[in-house]
């Protein structure tokens, strides 16, 4: 148990914070601790969690991606157009098209990063601008509302009528989210490739000398994120029942913050699916709780931002780095600098 806790500190802390928040919210609001609200939370978080587990794989492999949310917007748009062209299609064809486009867009990033040795943040900032610019240029910012019926009609997997007559529902995105999270979990912890990704992210040069194919790692990591972004894009279109070219713009930074909150490390080699899911849920629960407590929606982001800032500060600080600031100061490197200035 102790070993489990030490190896999964972030997950345990997140879990404890979520439980604590839930208890407080259960007592302070009447609606938080209901099945309906719980299901709502899952429905709302589904798309972000799909994005998050995809981004997690890239972060583990030591990269970073800014362009995935915009790539998902392209996927939505092109998939909608393609479905119209083939006369409707269905869930299978829709998911296939979305997944393929997503993977291709991810592969473009991997190609730039691997072939030309461009640092992943630079490459994805470039593709972010290219993807978004071209999308807005070709679509002229026009949204698509006439999506196929199968895509816009809600698919209810499980429903239950509550005492007050409202319905608590679990919809398709939640199931897809669960499948994506489980698949990612299986992929990164139970396959050789997944372990190689961790090794590669932790120490690329060591991994290379060990015989791991660096190029394959990049393509697999960014391809996986592309796949997830494609699925998430389709789910977003399903959830919102429309395709708006700039609806997902800016989502990448929120997802990135949530994933890192869940214990993934920029620089690679660390992170888990559970932490990632808990990170997204913590942000959603905070917003949901604030909403139920009647706090102005305009304050949500401020509070969420402050929480993430505090969480990152606390989780990054090694003990002895935050509190005995002055103790380390006396012993190590900072002292000569003081002398240098005087």
């Amino acid at each position: 148990m102790r070993k489990l806790f030490l190896s999964h500190t972030t997950e345990f802390v997140l879990f404890a914070v979520i439980i604590a928040m839930s208890i407080v919210l259960a007592f302070t609001t009447d609606r938080f601790f209901t099945l309906g609200n719980g299901f709502d939370l899952l429905n709302i978080s589904a798309v972000n969690i799909i994005f998050a587990v995809g981004l997690l794989v890239v972060l583990i492999s030591g990269g970073i991606d800014i362009s995935f949310a915009v790539a998902a917007s392209i996927v939505q748009y092109v998939t909608a157009l393609a479905l119209e062209r083939i006369g409707g299609g269905g869930w299978v064809s829709g998911l296939l098209i979305a997944a393929c486009i997503g993977i291709v867009l991810g592969m473009i990033n991997a190609f730039l990063i691997h072939r030309f040795r461009i640092i992943s943040i630079v490459a994805t900032i470039a593709t972010f601008n290219v993807y978004f610019g071209l999308l807005m240029f070709f679509t002229k910012g026009v949204s698509i509302y006439n999506l196929p019926d199968w895509l816009t009609s809600r698919v209810i997997i499980y429903e239950r009528e509550m005492a007050d007559g409202s319905w608590a529902e679990i919809t398709l995105p939640v199931v897809v989210m669960a499948v994506c999270a489980l698949a990612t979990w299986f992929f990164i912890t139970r396959t050789t490739t997944g372990r190689q990704l961790y090794a590669f992210g932790d120490n690329p040069e060591g991994a290379r000398r060990f015989g791991i194919n660096i190029g394959a790692m990049q393509f697999i990591a960014f391809g996986w994120l592309g796949l997830m972004a494609g699925i998430a894009g389709l789910m977003q279109a399903h959830y919102a029942q429309e395709v708006v070219p700039n609806a997902l713009y800016g989502r990448e930074l929120d997802v990135l913050a949530a994933v890192v909150l869940g214990g993934a490390r920029l620089g690679g080699g660390k992170g888990s699916v559970l932490g990632c899911v808990l990170g997204v849920l913590l942000v959603s629960i905070t917003q949901n709780g604030l909403n139920l407590m009647g706090v102005s929606p305009f304050a949500f982001k401020m509070i969420v931002g402050a929480i993430i800032l505090v969480a990152i500060t606390l989780s990054s600080a090694r003990i002895g780095n935050l509190v005995p600031v002055f103790a380390t100061r006396k012993s190590t490197g900072d002292r000569p600098a003081d002398r240098g200035e005087s």
Binding site: I121, A126, G133, F137, G305, L309
Partner: protein, 328 residues
Amino acid sequence: MNAPAARFNAIFGADMAGPLAALAVVLVVFGFASPHFLTGATFGSVAFQLPELGVLTLAMLMPILTGGLNLAITFTANIAGLTLAWTLQANGGIDAGPGAFLLGSALALAVGAASGLVMGLVIAFTRAHPILVSLSMMIFLRGLGEFLTRGGDISGFPTFIAPIGHGSILGIPVPLLILIACVIASHILLSRSKLGFSTYMIGSNIESARYSGLNTRKVLVLVYMLSGVMAAVAGIIMLARFNSVRVGHGESYLLITVLACFLGGINPFGGFGRVLPVFVALIVLQLLSSGLNLLGANQHLTTAVWGILLIVVMVLRWLSAKFIKIVK
């Protein structure tokens, strides 16, 4: 190395070649493509549009040189602009005097410095990744701004502020003068001061900088504070140019400032790069935007072209590195 190249490097620095070549290409290509390109009107509009992006890029530059990033610059600019706007409103709105403007500007700069101070302290003392710290600061500031303004905009400022955004002195736009002043200040700071030297040291290798006796924490805090102050300057310029402040204004500049830095030859890992090539890269970006505009393309196509330009520059850099290896 042959003599002309050596002389060029001696005068401008080796990292100037890329941006200057790009500048020449843009001037020649658009000069031929559009008869209206090489006219005063183009350069006039560039001169007025450049400063907001330019000052924000300078705010991004110093953190990148230390190997970090400041994603909060655009919203720091917004919050600083709001601070100035409220100070003006509290002192009579349209009838506010120059005193209120000076006070408001000082407060705006202080707010920018404060946001940088918080980020710098967290980054320096916890060693959290700068991308994450500035990202959460960005989310916080955006939320704060939306909370305080309810998503609306604030306008109605005294008329004497307008020249800061629209006026000219001796034919040179005032915002451009502010940008040039900021460029010179940054250049001197980075190339002549101890803080600048320390910034490069930290960017190349923070551990060895610390062991060689630099107070790395102090330098990091100062760098992020200066970044915040520079963002606040951009906020004041934006207020004057649009005669209003809205949270989210200039948000699209965020990634473009990073793009401008990399185009200007700044090393993404920090430690290497200078202000002047970045300034030239900014001019290239803005001329490209104006040129495409003249040819009838819209802003979004320009964004795409900027992204492609960044990829091309990175590929060229990779090619040249490979070429040098073969020659050796």
